[in-house]
Symmetry: C2
Subunit: 355 residues, 2 copies
């Protein structure tokens, strides 16, 4: 335990209007979290709707307060346009609470893009970060590996991927406690020169950086622990995460039949549950931290119900207590990514110490 | 059985110099294939090397002949440059045998790019096809689904993906016997408007085509049979195939421990073998057909050993016997893909009946 650990109760602002099961399951999960973890909760959204939900619980003795927000972002809306048209959207109001020092973190189960954009808009980006990124560790099959980006950044340029490598490197150090994490590009071949245009160009940038870049890894290497940080664009990251879930589901279904003659239903269920946890990487945490914005921001799955909401609150609370944001800032300042652009085919002229 | 089925012995030209275990395992697999399937084999490569390998077998009564090729493409060489510098490369010589009517099909375990480029160079492309594509059906978890592209085409434009959709549609009809196959784009969200730039633009083209386009599918839908044809670029296709293998391996390894106390070693091995077959899609066939060139061309894995070589030869023999190429040509002629470009953001002006 170090002295910079925050000992005050952590105040988490929760966007009650975001998510498929908002507001009911969000409020329910928040109440569960208070009971389990003792965070102070600020429920942000339609005051009427929240108070109606709170009637279901005895909250008189709990550290819960309500902040009204008159608008909400709906799924399907363009995040940028919606946030412009709705200055009082719950997710924006929640971010402002952090900005103004009234909250320590934001949790939202709303549209990932909207959470990302509002975090950037209100909280700003950390120095040296061009594109904040959501990533996570890849679960039990690869306990020493994190992957970035896993969703928000679909169309990327080489310097964005370098940016993810920097964030991933810091996260691997802080979260996985790996001193000099190895960084690899996800590609369709291990040799230099393999890859699509984006990967081939990023390879040249990472090669010249001070990161511990070990080259390309292939799809079959992702879970083998060949690298501590796997770098890819968020389009592929999203597809991979979901494909992992899908293949997990297919395998569990298949095992139910295949093991039927050997094991009891209960034993099969237990194996199924274990394999579910191993393959539903994003479900285990209930979402992902957004790294690179100047605040602790967690975006959960839209499909989250109360237990995932409670888990999300717990994750952000831990991040605040461990002063993860402060550590990230300090680490970013220390990483010297020296990139000299040699080719004319790189999208933008960049000559930067730290992306 | 229809009358256009080829009843003559099928003549397969085998690039003996391609693959990690060439020439030994290639020749061994070829000899196995003659025994099993009765194809006529033409072994193409260094005559000295082939004759030396053939000394290991009694081939006096077998329909095997040798065609000398003085050069070979090595892994790591740029395919285009290597093929230009080596006009007598084994893979080119094999293609010429088909072109000249001396062989019905080519099998190579060499570099995918080199096989693709030499097939296009010597055999040409089918009318309406811009980029030939390698794809396959996705195995036992998704018995009614094929995916294109699975490797050769890493950087794609929207019209390339439409091209893959056309090929996939024909393959699903002919190979899976599905009358009006559904086509979907692999994306990071199901709604129109989700995706990276490539997918969003391709969506607009497919929407206007006469293909049975059903929109986007996500990573978790790939093995669910939501679409008969999954369309993606070859970079993602390659990573997905290999990730599927990797997750399969991790799961098999995990099951060995997890099932240890319930099952015998033999029972566990059997389950592991079954799951291996379900997750190693490309291994089951030993490679993939290249669709869209004017000939039957099979590219196997570089790591193929004799059994996979024999299986590859069997696959091409079946394709020739079923007159798959003729059917593909005829189907392509019937599919009317009418595309009107509405947006200015599409890479190339296209106004074509058939891509």
């Amino acid at each position: 335990m170090t002295s910079d650990i925050n000992r005050d109760p952590v105040r988490v602002a929760i966007d009650v209007m975001g998510g498929d099961y908002a507001p009911r399951e969000i409020v329910k999960g928040a109440i569960q979290a208070v009971g389990q973890d003792g965070a102070e909760l600020i429920l942000v959204g339609s005051e009427d709707a929240i108070l109606k939900e709170l009637e279901r619980y005895d909250v008189s003795a709990l550290p819960v307060r309500v902040v009204n927000a008159s608008e909400a972002i709906r799924d399907g809306e363009s995040p940028v346009a919606a946030l412009r048209q709705k200055p009082d959207a719950s997710v924006l109001v929640a971010m402002r609470l952090v900005k103004e020092g009234q909250a320590d973190a934001v949790v939202s189960m709303g549209h990932t893009g909207a959470v990302m954009v509002s975090a950037i808009k209100i909280l700003g980006k950390l120095e040296g970060i061009k594109r904040p990124s959501a990533g996570s560790f890849l679960g039990g099959f690869a306990p020493n590996t994190v992957a970035f980006d896993l969703g928000p950044n679909a169309d990327c340029k080489p310097r964005d991927l370098v940016n993810f490598a920097v964030i991933g490197s810091v996260v691997a150090r802080k979260l996985l406690h790996i001193n000099n994490p190895t960084i690899a590009l996800l590609s369709n071949g291990s040799e230099e020169g393999k890859g699509n245009k984006l990967v081939r160009e990023t390879y040249q940038l990472l090669k010249q950086s001070s990161l511990n870049f070990i080259g390309n890894v292939e799809g079959n290497n992702i879970l083998q622990g060949k690298a501590n940080v796997i770098v890819c664009d968020g389009f592929i990251g999203n597809i991979l995460l979901k494909f992992c879930e899908g293949l997990g589901n297919s395998t569990i279904e298949w095992l139910r039949t295949r093991l039927g003659k050997y094991l009891t239903q209960k034993e099969i269920d237990a194996i199924g549950n274990d394999l579910f946890a191993l393959t539903h990487i994003a479900d285990v945490g209930g979402g992902a931290m957004i790294y690179g914005v100047n605040g602790v921001v967690w975006v959960g799955h839209g499909r989250s119900k109360a237990p995932e909401v409670a888990e999300s609150i717990r994750q952000t609370k831990l991040a605040v207590e461990a002063n993860f944001l402060g550590e990230l800032k300090s680490e970013l300042g220390e990483i010297a990514v020296k990139i000299q652009i040699t080719g004319a085919h790189v999208y933008e002229p960049v000559n930067i110490k730290l992306l």
